[in-house]
C-alpha cells in the first residue's frame, strides 16, 4: 500500500496541548509541511507568541524562539538580520498578540519591509486568557468582555489587518485563508508556501492570515465552530490575495 497522508517529520511527536478541534493544530501542520516541501527545515527559525500557541516551540521540529507578547516581529527582525538571506524566519501569532498589543511591531516590521513571514491566526478572540474581546471580534459577538455582543459604537468595528498591511509599501505578499473546508485548507497551505517563497526570494514582508476557531471560548463544539467561521467570519473577512508584488 502507498502512503497518501502521513504526519510530517517537521512536527515533533509531542502531544499538542490545544483544546479538541482547535484550529492551531491544523495551521501547525500546514506550516510544517510547507517548510518540508520547500526543503527549509534546516534554515527555518520560528518565533512563538504569547497566546495559546505559546508552546509552539515544542511542536515544530525547527529552531524556535519565544517572544514577549506582540513582539514576535521585532524578535524575528533581529534573527533574520543576523542570520541573513539564507535563513527562513517566521512568526506565529494570534489576533490578540498581533492586532492588539503587537499592533505597532507588526505595522513597522511590514513598513521596514522585513524579509520575514508572519503566520497570523485570527480566531476573533483572546483564547489563552479566557475569551476576552479582541480587535478582530465580530460586531455582536459575545465574549467575556462584551457579554451583550460587541458594540460598534463603543468598540469600533473589527480590524482587517491583511487589508491594512497590504497598503504598506514594504509588504510583498499577503493572503487571507480559512480552515473550513478541504479546498480552503489546501489553499491555506499554498498561501503559506507562497509566503515562504516570497521571503526566500528577498522580496519583502509576507503574511498569511488564517481564519481559525476557538471552540472553547466561542462556547461552541468544534464542528459548530467551523460552521460559524464559514457563515460569520468569512463574509466579514474576505478570503484571497491582498498583496502580491
Amino acid at each position: 500500500m502507498a502512503i497518501v497522508f502521513k504526519k510530517t517529520s517537521v512536527l515533533t511527536d509531542t502531544i499538542m496541548h490545544y483544546c479538541p478541534g482547535c484550529g492551531h493544530g491544523i495551521v501547525h501542520r500546514l506550516v510544517a509541511e510547507a517548510l518540508e516541501e520547500l526543503n527549509l527545515q534546516d534554515k527555518a527559525v520560528g518565533v512563538a507568541p504569547v497566546g495559546c500557541a505559546v508552546f509552539a516551540y515544542r511542536y515544530f521540529n525547527v529552531d524556535m524562539q519565544e517572544a514577549a507578547h506582540g513582539r514576535a516581529p521585532a524578535v524575528a527582525t533581529g534573527i533574520k538580520r543576523v542570520l541573513g538571506p539564507e535563513s527562513c524566519v517566521f512568526t506565529y501569532q494570534g489576533d490578540g498578540d498581533l492586532a492588539s498589543i503587537g499592533a505597532a511591531e507588526i505595522v513597522h516590521a511590514a513598513h521596514r519591509g522585513e524579509k520575514i513571514t508572519v503566520i497570523f491566526i485570527n480566531n476573533a478572540i483572546y483564547g489563552m486568557t479566557g475569551g476576552q474581546m479582541a480587535p478582530t471580534t465580530l460586531v455582536g459577538q459575545r465574549t467575556t468582555t462584551s457579554p451583550y455582543g460587541r458594540d460598534m459604537e463603543h468598540c469600533g468595528s473589527p480590524i482587517r489587518m491583511s487589508e491594512m498591511l497590504a497598503t504598506i509599501d514594504g509588504s510583498a505578499f499577503i493572503e487571507r485563508v480559512a480552515l473550513n473546508s478541504t479546498a480552503n485548507i489546501q489553499r491555506a497551505k499554498k498561501a503559506i508556501r507562497k509566503a515562504f517563497e516570497t521571503q526566500m526570494a528577498g522580496k519583502g514582508f509576507s503574511m498569511v492570515e488564517v481564519l481559525s476557531t476557538c471552540p472553547t471560548n466561542w462556547g461552541k463544539s468544534a464542528v459548530e465552530s467551523m460552521d460559524w467561521l464559514e457563515s460569520s467570519m468569512i463574509p466579514y473577512y474576505p478570503l484571497g490575495v491582498k498583496k502580491e508584488v
Binding site: 497522508f5 490545544y18 479538541p20 464542528v223
Partner: protein, 68 residues
C-alpha cells in the same frame, strides 16, 4: 482498497473528521473511550473510503494516516 489508521489514544474526539468526510463514513465511537476520556473517531465502512485524506487534513492533532 483504502486504509485509514487513527491513533485512538491521541484522538481528542473533536468530530472535525466526521464533519468533513465526503463519504460520511466516519463517526465518534459509541463504545470506546481513550485514556483521556475522549470517544475516538472510527471509520464505519472502510470499503467505501476513497482515500481522499480529507479527514487527515482537517485533524488538528494529526492522528490520521491514509494509505491506498
Amino acid at each position: 482498497m483504502a486504509m485509514v489508521t487513527i491513533n485512538e489514544e491521541r484522538c481528542k474526539g473533536c468530530g472535525l473528521c466526521v464533519r468533513i468526510c465526503p463519504k460520511k463514513i466516519m463517526q465518534l465511537s459509541e463504545t470506546k473511550l481513550n485514556s483521556k476520556g475522549y470517544h475516538p473517531a472510527e471509520v464505519t465502512d472502510m470499503e467505501a473510503c476513497m482515500a481522499c485524506a480529507a479527514c487527515a487534513r482537517t485533524c488538528p492533532d494529526v492522528v490520521i494516516q491514509v494509505e491506498k
